[in-house]
Amino acid sequence: MATATANPAGKASAFEEMGAVPSFQVTLFVRRFDPESGEEAKWEDFDVQVHGTDRVLDALHKIKWEQDGSLTFRRSCAHGVCGSDAMRINGRNRLACKTLIKDLDITQPIYVEPIKGLTVEKDLIVDMNPFYEAYRDIKPFLIASDKPEKERLQSSVERARFEDTTKCILCAACTTSCPVFWTDGQYFGPAAIVNAHRFIFDSRDEGAELRLDILNDKEGVWRCRTTFNCTEACPRGIEVTRAIAEVKQAILRGRP
């Protein structure tokens, strides 16, 4: 209570009240699936007392630590950098650690489900391997013929071409919001194309043609229906659909 003690005596309680974070109760409906029970996935509701500063991840922690220790979900950094806790919250893909509960409609229950289109392993955890496999397929590394003996220089204009797509944290929120990916698991998906974009338009990279050829596939960029779900889902604000469109244009041109 550093603020309280720093203030003149007598006013401490008033300041405490003023600085107090309002707390309220919310109901979370969490999609549960236990592979060992042999049962179908089902919704389970939890009432949680949360503060105005709490995020959905905090509510999930409260459930796991205080009510049901078997609740299973991924999270690591808890601050929107590692991309572990992408989930479907009230029907939209978001990071649980970046979604403030007070920003949701708290008069209604909050629905939390695993992201769609990938196999659910347990509760909110999905098998990310197909997602990473598509990422691996587009060769997400610098391809350069010269030896890394000195710095590879790049102008700010050249850098700006792929600045947006460097922000990807591979949380899979975009790919699992894509209706094409839901019905066709073979589709590369927005995230893989975003990461291909990051290298295709990098002036230091020499593998653009190779990557464009990979994405000029039956399951490549042409499957994109421009529904903009991916752009809306991206917690990093990457203009995903735009990046995909730029890759399409590059394939038509035959060069980045």
Partner: protein
């Protein structure tokens, strides 16, 4: 007993040359041309002359007497049918889960498209306006049919 989680997809295989790029390009190009063709068609048919009431056998015969409208309608027929069929193909590819369903739907789509294009083109170029004097105005009969 734990449930074994299968990989939801098999590894991607690089098949023979694919037409998706050309399909995508075709949809954009034909779409742009169709906007002009269809709205031009609607404008000429509905806003010039007597509008909807003026459309009858004679109206169509009059239009198709000119190679300009034969080509216009022919282009519209080909572009629109292939555009629509290709659009349906993408929807089928997106949503048909079983391979035989997908194949069956796609084959029937293209067969239907080919039949309609063939029929339409045939009508467009072998169309004979001079079947009966009752269907054309005397002036038109004079203009189109008297030479034959």
């Amino acid at each position: 007993m734990s449930i074994i989680i299968e990989t939801p997809r098999s590894p991607r295989s690089r098949k023979s040359a694919n037409w998706e790029k050309y399909g995508w390009l075709y949809m954009r190009a034909s779409g742009a041309v169709l906007i002009v063709l269809i709205f031009g068609h609607l404008f000429v048919n509905l806003f010039t002359g007597q509008g909807i009431k003026g459309i009858d056998f004679a109206f169509v015969a009059g239009k198709w007497a000119s190679p300009f409208w034969q080509v216009w309608d022919g282009l519209m027929l080909w572009l629109a049918l292939i555009h629509g069929t290709n659009g349906m193909r993408t929807i089928v590819n997106d949503y048909a889960e079983r391979e035989w369903v997908r194949k069956t739907l796609n084959v029937s789509l293209w067969v239907t498209c080919a039949a309609l294009v063939a029929l339409g083109t045939l009508v467009l170029f072998v169309f004979d306006p001079c079947v009966s004097k009752d269907l054309l105005s005397p002036a038109m009969w004079q203009q189109i049919c008297s030479a034959k």
